[in-house]
């Protein structure tokens, strides 16, 4: 299969199509508009449905509805729009419903700007809506990964009957790189056969809901959800780069992970033993990989395009085994490899 040169946003849309997504619901917002743009043409051509909803809230509830029918469906937005979708995501989590939500995040809080930022990490991984729930979160660092992880997101959403989020930023969404497509067999409907709503003729009716009033049922349901999140730990993915002999490990995700990689290559040429751990799944978080490196005596520096969010999960994972410094790049400023050099060198110098 030959290569295509596409934006990250288009790669996500193509990944969804190739994973059997047949419904898209959305409302326009920069910097993710290439996703609905692509879907508005591609879905009708392949017999699917594209709906430009009246609002983000409506789009997210349409995703819930499609999920309840066992349909592979997706919605996408950017930070402020993702905030509006949180109620429906909580309902989906509470109803054991699959669905893929894409957040090509931008600077915040509030309307912020339309440039890149990682300020939505907490919202994505800690459960942005109400109640004690989690969604699986995948953070692509390349355009190929944007395609591959979107395909994976659909499989995970149905395997766990849970919302899955792709968390990118304006860099991942807007940059172009070559990708290779994976052609898949048409998705069979077997994956949702035992639970989806499709009319109950000939069998017992099914109910999909998040309201659980009968005594003991809500507690039991929460236990079931926690068990699901525990099982999902086996989906942990991360990339390590030059960690073997490294004294200092930079921990960074998404676009910042790859930009930090350039800084690390440069510092390696100057003789600094630096490596990179790039979490690919943000929930579940690759805690074990961090602990393994800490036990080998390595120190850590978390770099994020926000004021310090993932660093809390890194420190939780390290649990005092090793120190972890932090450098936060301000939203509103495009990050370059030069911006990280100083903080990495400072971390080196601070060696006890």
């Amino acid at each position: 299969m030959s290569k295509l040169f596409v934006k990250g946003n288009e790669a996500i849309a193509r990944g969804a199509l190739d994973a059997g997504c047949s419904c898209y619901f959305g409302y326009p917002i920069t910097p993710q508009n290439e996703i609905p743009e692509f879907m508005s043409k591609a879905l009708p051509e392949t017999g699917g449905q594209f709906v430009q909803a009246e609002s983000e809230i409506a789009a997210a509830n349409m995703l819930l509805g499609a999920g309840a029918c066992g349909i592979r469906a997706m919605t996408s937005s950017s930070s402020p729009g993702i905030s509006l979708k949180q109620e429906a995501i909580s309902y989906m989590a509470g109803s054991d419903l699959p669905g893929v939500i894409v957040n090509i995040s931008r600077g915040g809080p509030g309307l912020g700007d339309i440039g890149p930022s990682q300020g939505d990490y907490f919202q994505a991984v800690k459960g942005g809506g109400h109640g004690d729930y989690r969604q699986l979160v995948l953070a692509p660092g390349t355009v190929q990964e944007a395609y591959d992880l979107t395909m994976l997101a659909f499989d995970l959403a149905f395997a766990y009957r849970n919302p899955v989020m792709i968390l990118g930023d304006a860099i991942i969404g807007q940059m172009m790189e070559p990708i290779r497509l994976i052609r898949r067999e048409a998705q069979d409907r077997e994956e949702s056969e035992s639970w989806r709503l499709e009319g109950y003729a000939g069998r017992k009716p099914r109910v999909i809901k998040s309201l659980r009033l009968a005594e003991g049922t809500l507690g039991k349901h929460n236990e079931h959800l926690q068990q699901k999140y525990l099982t999902a730990r086996r989906e942990c993915r991360h990339e390590e780069f030059m960690t073997d002999d490294a004294e200092l490990i930079v921990v960074a995700f998404g676009s910042i992970g790859r930009i930090a990689k350039s800084t690390i290559r440069r510092l390696r040429q100057k003789g600094y033993r630096v490596g990179l751990l790039r979490p690919i799944t943000l929930f579940p978080f690759p805690s074990q990989a961090l602990q393994d490196l800490a036990e080998k005596g390595k120190r850590f520096l978390t770099i994020e395009h926000n004021m310090g969010q993932m660093v809390e999960d890194v420190r939780l994972a390290l649990c005092g085994l090793a120190p972890c410094g932090f450098y936060g790049h301000l939203p509103g400023n495009l990050p370059t490899p030069d911006d990280f050099e100083g903080s990495i060198l400072k971390e080196f110098a601070s060696e006890a």
Partner: protein
């Protein structure tokens, strides 16, 4: 020796800067190299300068965003003023001398190439070909991609409804390359 090149391509909105970037990037892909392209958008897109960054390598590319580029294509004066100070020492700066005074060039520090891309485009019959003249000159200066591959890649980046203009674009790319051979025969 590994291959690595990065470029900031900058000009007015409407000069075809983004098309230059995507054509260069697709040509790199067709040459089996790794490549990233990122447009800079935001307030700058509205009326001011437009720019994009292309990184080409035979190894996995880390950052798609470069603060201090090895090469610069400046299609107008504001672009030269903004980005020339950031170009690395001894880096290549291709200047649209139809619109930029030669005395603005930082001659001692960088390697400057003055090409009147607007005038050449007008001679070819269409001012809008200036971007292709510049790209032809750029690939000849840097040697990062073969001109033939750039010409072959045109049909991938130019929308089908404009394919009747492929021959014009090809001539513009060739004219840019020829200008470099003529004006800088020793490679500058």
């Amino acid at each position: 020796m590994s291959i690595y090149q990065d470029a900031i391509i900058a000009g007015f909105g409407g000069q075809g800067v983004m098309l230059m970037g995507t054509l260069l990037a697709v040509s790199a892909m067709e040459s089996d190299l790794e490549v990233t392209y990122i447009p800079v958008y935001g307030p700058e897109m509205r009326g001011g300068t437009a720019n994009c960054t292309v990184v080409i390598s035979d190894e996995e590319i880390g950052s798609p965003i470069i603060r201090r580029p090895l090469t610069l294509i400046a299609m107008n004066r504001p672009s030269l003023e903004k980005f020339q100070p950031l170009v690395r020492d001894n880096g290549v700066v291709l200047i649209n001398s139809s619109l930029v005074e030669p005395d603005l060039t930082d001659n001692g520090r960088i390697r400057a190439y003055h090409v009147p891309v607007n005038d050449i485009a007008v001679e070819l019959g269409n001012l809008r070909l200036a971007n292709m003249v510049a790209l032809g000159a750029y690939v000849r200066i840097t040697g990062i991609i073969a001109l033939e591959v750039v010409i072959k890649s045109l049909s991938e980046v130019i929308p089908e409804r404009y394919h009747h203009l492929l021959a014009h674009n090809t001539r513009a790319l060739e004219a840019g390359a020829a200008e470099i051979e003529h004006k800088y025969p020793s490679g500058g």
